[in-house]
């Protein structure tokens, strides 16, 4: 009985060869998709870091700019200023001013009023005092001192070499300029937001899941009492499916866009509700000796996610949180583009029923400023079997999702 043989149909090797080629291509495609997804995530992270750094360093950069400009302007008289600084510690103000005036006169050069030396000491509390002293020869000092732990001292020395008749006016204008060029004291604090303010979020959602199934449509349609076709594509294909069909199903990456309103209910918790729109793409290829049929399916879903957010950590302008919730989606329309032996046609159907899903994960939000934030939520979603058309969700109910978007704090 083991020696019994049956001759395969003609052309069966060609189909195997074709499938092997497709598998090879699919591997390359999968690798590329993985690469693109990784690149996209990496680019997003870099963007977040850049935005985070730029927003975090906003005040620091102001200081740096001021410091740099001062240093740049002082370069020709660097030695003089150093001397002046040392002398200002050791000697009396009058003596300093006299020496400075003498040196300035001897150099006969003009120094801009923005020549600053800023010293900053940070402590816990935020009490600051600014003392400003000006000498006869346009020396200005700003000192910030904190009483308990925090002391911030800003010393400013501006010197201007000009004729005595113009000096006072220049000093006044220099003072005004230098004051206006300082960042406000509160800018040194990290970005603070109104507590319990509602948040509007706009986001895109990518799920890097893709799938590939090789199934025989005949085996599905012929199994008695077995798999009832839960798919309109299957229904279409079943109606006129030829014998000896081998099919290949590909599920592409789902894409979502949405808007969400988040309402804080306490310092720790917030509830978010929104609307999102999802597109699910699939491709079905059916091959037989008689014909080749390629079907592209696009499913349109609109959904309402309801999420609970729990703050885990909030430091400076970074907020970490956990999120979990439920989503209800309604299939709006299933669009099909079918190509039979190169002849194309399109069709569409409404989708019955609702799709329920659970989500859970973590997220991080980077504050760009007081009213805007960029967030990234990697989550896991589970899609329940609700007799929806065949898609990546029915094929792989457990999905990883990456949500990236902006939050606007109202």
């Amino acid at each position: 009985m083991e020696a019994h043989t049956e001759v395969p149909d003609a052309g069966s090797w060609s189909l195997i060869e074709l499938s092997l080629l497709r598998k090879k291509k699919a591997k390359v495609l999968y690798f590329r998709r993985a690469l693109y997804t990784t690149a996209a995530v990496a680019a997003s992270l870099v963007l977040l870091l850049v935005l985070n750094k730029s927003s975090y360093d906003f005040n620091d950069s102001a200081k740096v700019v001021v410091q740099k400009s001062a240093i740049a302007n002082l370069e020709p008289e660097q030695d003089i200023i150093e001397k002046k600084s040392v002398q200002s510690i050791d000697n009396s103000k009058t003596l300093i001013s006299e020496q400075i005036s003498e040196q300035i006169k001897s150099e006969k050069q003009t120094i801009n009023p923005d020549k600053l030396i800023i010293k900053e000491q940070s402590t816990d509390k935020e009490q600051t005092t600014i003392k400003e002293q000006s000498t006869d020869k346009e020396q200005t000092t700003i000192k910030e001192q904190s009483t308990d732990k925090k002391q911030a001292t800003i010393e400013k020395q501006a010197e201007q070499n000009s004729e005595s008749s113009k000096s006072e006016k220049n000093v006044e204008s220099a003072k005004k300029d230098s004051r206006s060029s300082y960042p406000p004291v509160q800018d040194y604090k990290s970005i603070s937001r109104k507590k319990h303010s509602p948040i509007v979020a706009i986001a895109t959602n990518l799920s890097p899941s893709t799938g590939n199934n090789s199934v025989s449509l005949m085996s599905m349609s012929q199994s008695q009492g077995g798999l009832a076709p839960n798919n309109v594509v299957s229904t279409i294909q079943k109606a006129s499916v030829p014998q000896e069909v081998i099919s290949n199903t590909k599920f592409l990456m789902p894409v979502s866009m949405g808007i969400q309103l988040q309402m804080p209910i306490s310092k720790m918790f917030a509830v978010g509700v929104g609307v999102n729109y999802t597109l699910l793409f699939s491709q079905y290829d059916a091959l037989s000796h008689q014909e080749t049929r390629e079907t592209e399916q696009t499913l349109h879903y609109i959904g309402v996610p309801l999420n609970l957010y729990v703050n885990i950590m909030q430091k400076d302008n970074i907020r970490l949180y956990a999120t979990g919730g439920i989503a209800l989606e309604k299939g709006l329309y299933a669009f099909y583009r079918v190509s039979e032996n190169g002849v194309g046609r399109t069709s569409g159907e409404t989708i019955d029923g609702l799709q329920w899903s659970l989500t859970g994960g973590f997220g991080v939000e980077f504050a760009i400023n007081n009213s805007k934030g960029l967030y990234f939520d990697p989550t896991v979603a589970y899609y329940f079997d609700n007799s929806q058309p065949l898609s990546i969700r029915t094929s792989q109910p457990l999905q990883f999702k990456f949500e990236l978007g902006f939050r606007f704090h109202l």
Binding site: T5, I16, L20, S223, I246
Partner: protein, 183 residues
């Protein structure tokens, strides 16, 4: 046209297949596809479905051929892949959900193996192909492939008792068929 003369040695043929040499893969297909198609038909009972399994089986073979370590017969290794592919297909259609376990072993006693030996292999294959899927699967695995009930139960995700009962019923079914044909 690829000929088997290009790869007279099976080891060379397998090495070439591991390297995804299409010509070698085709030679392997031509060598074993008739036997494997017969195996598939025995399991699914229909030539059309058997052709699907043959296709999927060879795809698996070419993907996994690197894992064949050379110990044991290559044909045996190949046969296992096709049997597993056939079982997977049957499992997809839920046709292997055997709910009825036989507590009464009298049916097993009434089935005589003498009857089976009286018919030739072609007739038997025809009969096997017309068997209900549950009977056919277990009968194939036990009587032809040589699996024991523990292995069958594990492969089909059913209980050993269910495997035994399906085999007993298969034997009785075959016996009744043969008797009715004799009349």
């Amino acid at each position: 046209m690829t000929t088997q003369k290009e790869f007279p040695d099976e080891i060379e043929l397998l090495r070439a297949c591991v390297k995804n040499d299409r010509r070698a893969q085709r030679v392997l297909y031509e060598l074993y596809s008739p036997k494997m198609l017969a195996v598939c038909i025995r399991y699914v009972g229909e030539r059309e479905r058997a052709m699907d399994i043959l296709h999927d089986g060879f795809i698996t073979v070419f993907e996994k051929i690197g894992s064949y370590n050379g110990t044991g017969s290559f044909e045996g290794w190949l046969r296992r892949i096709f049997v597993n592919t056939a079982l997977m297909t049957l499992r997809k259609g839920d046709v292997l959900k055997f709910s009825d376990e036989l507590s009464d072993t009298s049916l097993e006693l009434t089935a005589s193996s003498d009857t089976l030996s009286m018919i030739n292999s072609k007739e038997l294959l025809k009969l096997i192909a017309s068997m209900p899927v549950g009977f056919r699967t277990v009968f194939n695995m036990f009587a032809i492939e040589g699996y024991n009930h523990m292995e069958i139960a594990k492969a089909l995700k059913i209980s050993e008792g269910s495997s035994r009962s399906q085999l007993s019923r298969a034997r009785v079914w075959l016996q009744n068929k043969l008797r009715s044909e004799e009349k």
